[in-house]
Subunit: 215 residues, 2 copies
Amino acid sequence: MSESEMKNETRERLLDAAEGLFAEKGFEAVSLRDITRTAGANVASVNYHFGSKEGLINEVMKRHALPVNEERVRRLEGLLEGEARPEVREVIEAFLDPLIERITEADERRRLFGRFMGRVTGEEAKGIPSEMVPAFTKMMKLTVAAFQRALPGLSTEETLCRIKFCFAVMTQALLRDEVFEQITERKLAAWEPEKIYQEVLVFCTGGMAEQEGKA
Amino acid sequence: MSESEMKNETRERLLDAAEGLFAEKGFEAVSLRDITRTAGANVASVNYHFGSKEGLINEVMKRHALPVNEERVRRLEGLLEGEARPEVREVIEAFLDPLIERITEADERRRLFGRFMGRVTGEEAKGIPSEMVPAFTKMMKLTVAAFQRALPGLSTEETLCRIKFCFAVMTQALLRDEVFEQITERKLAAWEPEKIYQEVLVFCTGGMAEQEGKA
DNA sequence: CCCCTTGTCAAACAATCGTTTGAAACACGA
DNA sequence: TCGTGTTTCAAACGATTGTTTGACAAGGGG
């Protein structure tokens, strides 16, 4: 009866295998047979445990995206609870740090999560699972509110547009870009992740704060 | 004999249909039968004219990417020919404008090119066609040189990293992001492209110029 | 003992994919 | 008119996809 420990074992192995393969090759490029072979399970097991391939994708997404989202909400609410105007840098850190922390955890299983999340955006996916929409919408509202308090000069559209750019930068930083590596002759290949995260923070801070010299 | 006008007609229709469908749904999600049905041609025509589906993809990429690249090279060389230090904004415009100009051309056939180019990065594509690599490498070297002259304080790695972020922002600005639209409740849906391009320029300029307050 | 649930497995399912084939239809100079 | 090379087409190819089926084993509770 205790649901906490008696988690089905093959179910977990399927999730781990799927997460790794999806992060490496994308959703469409990985077949159920690739996943089940890696997990040492039968082809039918995916449909048994998750109903369909899409159900498996949704479950992999939820496994880590929801905790990251909750942490972001917590930190953004912390920035907004007082009357003080937060720094742009603080707002960006509030939704960059939770992602980075989860990626750099020692847990081997979570190492690929970053690249997996990079896949979510830009893929032909039908979207995120519907159960996640309210949580993500709430997080986004808090993000907009925090940025608008930090940058009172920006309109809502400008703020949203730049937030989208921040997400783009974070996503691109997590994924490997074969084309870019090729045409830069791999000069950037072996950079420590910490330096890249630092660059993400600097770039987004600078891009957000720019007041497009209207004077 | 005159190759200029006697361009095979179905060949052009295949390229047009492929460009539009790829821009809309991505490379893998579009089948040869989708393309040939749209173009009013036979399934075998793709393999006849382009050898394979990959050959078609490469041809679509080359059709517009090479002219954009040449224009970028021309403008970057213009910035570098003198001794003067170019503005960060000028460098960004030098490789943003050629793309925007081609997108906003009246020619209906080229309207979807932007979204198509967005697909190139991030997809599981094996990379760009090998014939394009030298031209792209040259353009990238010029870009790095121009930025390093505009921002002497940055190391090569920092410069490359931020250039990658600029590409990420441009790509994301060209593509629709269903997930983002959903969790922002489509507040940003109907923004004029000109405003978005302006935001891209502002954001990239600010992100590039930031000197990460090392003091 | 039987019954029912839960899980696994090999096998087959129908659908779709990119590609190939071989024969027609066409164009055009000799 | 013939011959030759180019282009189109219906049909089929083999491979792979996600999904379903039905049998089988293990595990308790009655």
